[in-house]
């Protein structure tokens, strides 16, 4: 991503947005956001997001815009939180028959993986997702999957190729985001 240099007017817009709407947004979120999230964190993240936005000049309704950004952040945060809880729960259940012990770093990665996989594939059909899971997580061959889902080999391959492309794209977006945050 091209680094965005704050020009004076851009700086001014950001400053005005912060002064005019920071308290309001925090108040708005305060009454809606619950544990484990806090309005203060969310407001902070929202303005960080605003720093990265390219369309700063085209924002017509600042409050609606900020609420929308906060909403999407909250959706992302909550999803990661839920996925983490679920993942840790299954780890706990299978703690005995787990032959490898995962490091905290691996756990963090696993949650990220689950996150981008679900986001990448949320627009696909149930059958496509079924083929994907069988191929990548259950070790079935393409012919076996074709038989199981009742489609031709060629169709099955198209399903799998779709998923691979979507996941690859999502992973790259994620890496870009992480680089931005550093």
């Amino acid at each position: 991503m091209v680094p965005i240099l704050p020009t004076p007017s851009r700086q001014q817009i950001l400053q005005d947005m912060y002064l005019d709407h920071h308290d309001w947004l925090r108040h708005w979120l305060n009454s809606r956001v619950r544990y484990p999230f806090t309005a203060a964190d969310l407001v902070q993240d929202t303005f960080v997001k605003l720093l990265q936005t390219q369309q700063l000049f085209s924002i017509q309704e600042p409050r609606a815009y900020l609420v929308n950004v906060a909403k999407h952040l909250l959706i992302d945060k909550h999803r990661r939180y839920i996925l983490e809880q679920n993942y840790l729960e299954t780890l706990k259940q299978h703690a005995d028959d787990q032959d490898i012990l995962l490091s905290s770093n691996q756990i963090e990665e696993a949650v990220l993986i689950l996150d981008f996989l679900t986001v990448a594939l949320q627009g696909t059909t149930a059958l496509t997702r079924k083929a994907f899971i069988m191929y990548y997580f259950e070790g079935y061959s393409q012919s076996e999957i074709a038989t199981e889902i009742g489609k031709s080999l060629r169709t099955t391959q198209l399903y799998l190729a779709d998923c691979l492309q979507l996941c690859y794209e999502a992973k790259n977006n994620l890496l870009e985001l992480e680089q931005d945050e550093r």
């Binding site: 909250l74 959706i75 999803r79 299954t90 949320q122 393409q142 799998l160 492309q165």
Partner: protein, 327 residues
Amino acid sequence: MNAKQLQKEMALWIVRLNTDNLHERQQAQIEFEAWRNKYPEHHDQLDQMLSFSQTMQQFSTTHGISSQNVRNSMKLSQQSKKHILQMLSKTLLFFVGVGGVIYLASDSTMLSYHTADFKTEVGQIHSITLQDGSKVTLGAKSAIKLDFSSEKRQINLVQGDMYIDVAKDPQRPLIIHTPQADFKALGTRFIVYQYSNSSVLNMLHSKVETRSLGKDHQSKVVKQGEKITANPLGLSPISKLDIASTEFAWDKHQILADQLPLTDLLTNLSRYHHQYLIFNHSTLKDYKVSGVINAQQDLDQTLRLLVSHYPIKITKLGNYVIYITSK
């Protein structure tokens, strides 16, 4: 070919080249050679994607991600989004609900005050000439809403007091509406005081027909030099008033109290001062006040005067909140 189409094409090569069907795989290899030679610039990206595909196949062992994990995650992430959207909109409805109730419970006139056509702030007096030529003076913290048409002239006294010199218009009588009564005039001068539970009419000139909106549904004509009080039960008997001192009192922002309930006096005083007066209506309403009180003079002084005459106690909380309780 855009980036996404290119990725799709490469993804399909990767899948086809890794199929378990031998015949299909050989066919794919032949076709792929041609593609590979045609697009040497995409080799790196293809390698990256291939390695990513292999990494994905290892997630179950490298990160302990089971197929059940993935299935659950997909289900949960959809629910999560729904949950958040519901949470945001639900709390919104919830807050509108509660906010509305509080509004109504605290003071139903509050909203009407803020949406009134003309209003005055605490301690402010304001004179206006209406479109029909009638002259209105609003007392402190008072508000009116106009409803004028070709058939009628109606002024809703939302809160506070108003002095009016009604312009003559035989075709369109002018009505001052309060929750307790309608005061109908043709062309006259009078004052309406609006209290929490009653409204009082002081006639300065000519006459006004007062129609009770209370239980008795009575109508009485009140003439120059007379006054009447309307409350939810109905109309009081008509009594006399002194026109000159009433006009003088209005001009000087004096409250001419003649057996005025203490609570009404306090309500009136609070319109002229920024201090917040808190008192219990039911325990104080039976004390009646008579005398001339300057609404604009120092509030502490007025309250001290009241304490010396009535069995009440004043408790101050800081500079702005004053509790008035019965001793």
